[in-house]
């Protein structure tokens, strides 16, 4: 049997103040397929609260790359969480890639996506397994649906894939 090239596994995290969304993607040649997705909640903003949950996912999917958002604010404790994830990745020798939200906007802007809902719709078309998670379009007075964090994580992963393919 000829030894084939192994798959490239990527886990993307969208870190929020009290939860994070994740998607795990596996790419063989040029086709990316969705392995898993979900939301994990935590009670406080300390990195110690998030790390076991991140570690569990990293151990389960053993990714080659972890993709995080390049944007994080002190106010929501984003940097604390990000450093927690980065330390867990460093322990396992997993590369971390930061993707700026402008890169995500540029990538999905090519398909005519103007806002987060359009991006989430485009993602659910690409991965029909996620279609049932797609929230209704948010009204001005409504808060964002918690499942949007899954789509944000998927957008990071897809934007990173695209940026990698096109140098």
């Amino acid at each position: 049997m000829k030894p084939g090239r192994g798959p490239l596994r990527v886990v993307a995290f969208d870190l929020r103040a009290k939860r994070f969304g994740f998607v795990a993607l596996e790419r063989v040649e040029s086709a990316a397929r969705l392995l898993d997705w979900g939301i994990r909640g935590f009670r406080n903003l300390r990195a110690s609260a998030v790390r076991p949950r991140i570690a569990q996912l990293l151990d389960m999917y053993q990714p080659s790359i972890v993709v995080l958002s390049g944007r994080s604010s002190h106010r929501t404790g984003g940097r604390t969480l990000r450093s927690g994830v980065e330390e867990e990745c460093a322990k396992r020798r997993i590369h971390v890639r930061l993707v700026d939200h402008r890169v995500v906007k540029e990538h999905f802007g090519k398909d005519g996506c103007k806002n987060k809902h359009d991006i989430a719709t485009a993602i659910s078309r690409r991965f029909p397994d996620l279609a049932w998670k797609l929230p209704a379009r948010r009204r001005l007075w409504q808060t964002e649906a918690c499942q949007m964090t899954i789509f944000d994580a998927a957008a990071l992963a897809l934007a990173w894939h695209c940026a990698r393919d096109h140098g």
């Binding site: 397929r33 080659s64 397994d129």
Partner: protein, 120 residues
């Protein structure tokens, strides 16, 4: 930057189907979803009967459902066959035993050719 396959893809196929662990457990005749969870996290390798039940449920061959495990087992068998081939080639016999050895070596060659044909 690529890595090996996951030991199993049970969770991927379960989530694709939209079924919960409890529902899968009920279909396969388990008491609760705990065993499904252990299988998904590779804490426990399911016996053949359960592996075949997963194949029947998800309509995906066992070798794909347990991709990483399949690769490991296949590599072990290939290594053992190479060892057997070397052992057979080192044998020098006459009579019916020699022709049996020749038959085995021929089977090993044909098997390898068929395997390569399947992978192309």
């Amino acid at each position: 930057m690529t890595g090996p396959k996951l030991a199993n893809y049970l969770k991927t196929h379960r989530k694709k189907s939209g079924l919960s662990q409890r529902e899968v457990a009920a279909v396969l005749g388990f008491k609760d979803g705990g065993l499904i969870s252990r299988h998904e996290r590779s804490r426990h390798v399911p016996p053949l009967r359960h592996a075949l039940a997963y194949e029947a449920l998800f309509c995906v061959p066992v070798s794909i459902l347990f991709g990483g495990l399949h690769e490991t087992v296949q590599a072990d068998v290939e290594a053992a066959l190479e060892e057997l081939k070397r052992h057979l080639q080192s044998k020098s016999g006459k009579g019916p035993l020699a022709s049996l050895t020749a038959l085995k070596l021929e089977w090993l060659t044909v098997r390898r050719r068929g395997d390569e044909g399947l992978n192309e």
